[in-house]
């Protein structure tokens, strides 16, 4: 597609269940980012991929959170044993390379996660 695609757009899950969120970046973009936006909060960096490797995963809040990227394309963010505080919008972004190289970063529309 023309832009960053995320699925599902909305997810309601019960506390304790695992969830998977998917991101399909813009074709050819080597850099991929996951951010979280909680109600009334700013954007919180979670993880950065360059190709299939994640040189910066400093923002993952706990070991319940993991992410992978395969084929230098699609990425999946997995949250295990979800908690109510995990409720947020999870935003994926991609760019042709690192920000320091002057690359534009494009965001998807997000996956709204509600843990009940």
């Amino acid at each position: 597609g023309a832009g960053v695609s995320q699925s599902p757009s909305n997810k309601v899950t019960e506390k304790g269940k695992d969830v998977e969120l998917r991101c399909d970046p813009i074709s050819g973009h080597t850099a991929l980012y996951w951010y979280r936006q909680s109600l009334g909060q700013g954007l919180e960096f979670l993880i950065y991929f360059q190709g299939n490797s994640a040189p910066d995963k400093s923002g993952l809040p706990s070991d319940r959170f993991s992410a992978e990227r395969t084929g230098g394309s699609v990425s999946t963010l997995t949250i295990q044993r979800t908690q109510q505080e995990d409720s947020a919008v999870y935003l994926c972004a991609s760019s042709p390379g690192q920000p320091i190289s002057g690359n534009t970063i494009y965001f998807g529309e997000g996956s709204w996660l509600t843990v009940v």
Partner: protein
Amino acid sequence: SQELEQSPQSLIVQEGKNLTINCTSSKTLYGLYWYKQKYGEGLIFLMMLQKGGEEKSHEKITAKLDEKKQQSSLHITASQPSHAGIYLCGAYFSGSARQLTFGSGTQLTVLP
């Protein structure tokens, strides 16, 4: 993020008025991005600035990065209801060039 402070937090203006949103950093910026977000939607890229003193314009929106590269301003001329939304600045700093740090946003309302 305390590294990036946006002001004002919210702004209500009458259609046709000009307005300015500021983004101030506690350290030297290596690059500054401006995005717009509408409720329930993703971030729409507006502009990116890298060089001190740089200024870019798109339609009625102008963004500047000051010479010392610690502040950016976003100026909207003759505002329209379509400009309403949340404006976010994001920056990358030395030592964390792989991620953008975002400000807390400015909520803009334009009254018709």
